[in-house]
């Protein structure tokens, strides 16, 4: 009973913490926030690992379901963090924004050198 109450308290406090943190995320970063938090929700992987590693004593279905869960959760975690990283790298501050413009592909013939 005590453990349950402790966990419910943890849950409620974490929700409050999440609300506080996430309202501070600027609109610019909402897409990476979604993919990043999605990767975090792949924490189910921990549960999946325990099920997949249950050994022969647990019958066939437990490890099979566990392996499916491990696969799905790993896609979630690896894909989520990688794609978030890819997006966030594009948001890195640039010192000069013009040099890349020179190879922009638009009719630059008329631009005086």
């Amino acid at each position: 009973m005590e453990i349950l109450i402790l966990q419910i308290s943890l849950f409620v406090l974490a929700v409050f913490l999440g609300v506080e943190l996430i309202t501070k995320v600027p609109a610019t970063l909402h897409t990476p926030l979604m993919s990043g938090s999605n990767a975090i929700s792949g924490i189910t992987l921990v549960g999946a690992l325990l099920a997949a590693g249950a050994g022969d004593g647990a019958g066939l279905w437990v490890p099979v379901l566990g392996m499916i869960a491990v696969t799905l959760a790993t896609i979630n975690v690896v894909g989520g963090f990688l794609v978030t990283n890819r997006m966030l790298r594009m948001f890195r501050p640039r010192k000069v924004s013009t040099p890349t413009a020179a190879k922009g592909g638009v009719s630059h013939e008329s631009v005086p050198g």
């Binding site: 938090s37 590693g53 696969t71 690896v78 963090f81």
Partner: protein, 464 residues
């Protein structure tokens, strides 16, 4: 490893997640924040693998290798325009993983006696339900976004009653599981019904409301993980799941406010929407729409001091981000201030348009959210609207009878001149004519977004 140490490492992982999300509050620290969260995940996984209740590693190895491979390919191949589909897919996988964990836990459950067993059973049912709905709901959202399914609301008469019935049946099955009289047959039936429920819940929601749905499913995937944490009494799952659940709910709220819709309206209202007296497009536009040329707009831009670019998803569809950046560079070389005004629902998910502009190497400090850019329009010489429609419709501000009345919009009509780059006068998602196009200070530049912008850039460059 002893239990104390394991819990200590789980706590460390949870702290890294919190720190990681905190890093995401600023573009400068965001990359590091994401890396921090990834390290947190690594810590949690390694600690779990060292747990002595893990007896065999073959199944784990197979899953991890397969998952990493698929995840890496997805993450590196996906186009930035397809990011909403990607997130929908990942949400679904997260939900699916929780579903499998719950099913495996039920089968592996040693004792169902006493309070411990009761809590585990309740948590298993909750995880099954949320996980299954997230899995198939996300699959439908993915199919709609990928245009495998039509974007319009799908369904049949009485789908809401059907959903209610399904939900009641799921609760009844869950009840029998919890009371201890259920076996694995009931478990399978419960999962199947919940999977069907995910499909029938998302089917009737229209394509325009998909951003809200993705945000909500994002929240569900977190809640499913938290529920799985209750099954196993694992605090790191509870904490991280709660964080993600909160994140998804907040984003859902932001999207609802930006679209002036209630969450209930999005989830249950779209089938029964009655079309009120819709304004006649011909009446709105008759003889008042002025078509312009790139040369004319180019001249207008040359004498401007501040230009605000308002992009919509049409810009991404035309792959015109880079062309727009080139135009902005040309203008900036002439000392003209260029900013991007972004509506919260520009693009197909929260912040999508920002990512697309960042991909075209637009500096993030030039992307301004709606509130800030609305304060600037009165001192703006030219506002260029590309591929956006409903979010600039002044009816939302002025016409009380309009279905979009009250929706926050970008007040582009307050700028001295508005240039709208558009293929035709066709309406946007809301299906309404846009009186903006008939305003005295509005010029239409008809044509393909990318081509029109490139012609405009050429016109600006030629006149130097």
């Amino acid at each position: 490893m002893n239990l104390f140490l394991v819990d200590g490492f789980y706590l460390l992982a949870a702290m890294l997640f919190v720190g990681g999300i905190k890093g995401l509050t600023r573009p400068r620290t965001a990359v590091r924040g994401n890396q921090m969260a990834a390290i947190g995940m690594l810590v949690a996984v390694v600690v779990t693998l060292l747990d002595k209740s893990i007896l065999s590693y073959e199944w784990i190895l197979g899953g991890v290798v397969l998952g990493s491979l698929i995840g890496t390919v997805l993450a590196t191949r996906i186009q930035m325009t397809a990011m909403p589909q990607m997130v929908a897919l990942l949400n679904g996988f997260g939900g699916g993983a929780s579903l499998c964990v719950a099913a495996a836990s039920f089968l592996g459950l040693a004792e169902t006696e006493g309070l411990q067993g009761l809590v585990a059973l309740v948590a298993i049912c909750v995880t099954l339900l949320i996980g299954a709905v997230t899995l198939t709901g996300s699959a439908v959202a993915f199919a709609k976004l990928q245009e495998l399914l039509p974007g319009r609301p799908l369904g049949f008469r009485g789908i809401r009653g059907f959903n209610l019935l399904l939900f009641v049946a799921v609760l009844a099955l869950a009840g029998s599981l919890i009371s201890g009289s259920g076996d694995s047959g009931i478990l399978i039936l419960l999962s199947v019904l919940a999977l069907v429920l995910g499909v029938t819940l998302v089917m009737p929601i229209g394509g325009a409301d998909m951003p809200v749905v993705i945000a909500l499913l994002n929240s569900y995937s977190g809640l499913a993980a938290a529920a799985a944490g209750f099954i196993m009494g694992n605090s790191v799952l509870v904490v991280s799941g709660a964080l993600v659940g909160a994140s998804g709910i907040i984003l859902t709220r932001i999207m609802c406010v930006a679209m002036n819709r209630s969450l209930a309206g999005v989830l249950f209202g779209s089938m029964g929407e009655a079309g009120g007296p819709v304004m006649d497009a011909d009446e709105v536009y008759a003889g008042k729409v002025k078509s312009s040329s790139p040369e004319e707009v180019g001249m207008l831009l040359e004498s401007a001091r501040r230009v605000v670019i308002v992009p919509g998803f049409g810009l991404a569809m035309a792959q015109a981000q880079h062309a727009v950046r080139d135009l902005a560079d040309s203008l900036e070389r002439r000392g003209i201030e260029v900013i991007y005004g972004l509506h919260p629902v520009a693009g197909r998910m929260p912040g999508h348009m920002n990512v697309l502009l960042a991909e075209a190497e637009v500096a993030y400090d030039k992307m301004q959210p709606m509130e800030e850019v609305n304060a600037l329009f009165e001192q703006t010489d030219v506002a260029i609207v590309i591929g956006a429609n409903d979010v600039t419709n002044p009816m939302a501000r002025e016409d009380k009878g309009s279905p979009i009345y009250g929706m926050p919009i970008l007040n582009v009509d307050k700028a001295r001149t508005v240039v709208v780059v558009k293929r035709s006068l066709s309406p946007g998602f809301a299906g309404l004519p846009n009186p903006l196009f008939a305003r005295d200070n509005c010029l239409m530049l008809f044509g393909d977004g990318k081509k029109a912008i490139m012609e405009l850039t050429a016109a600006v460059n030629e006149s130097i």
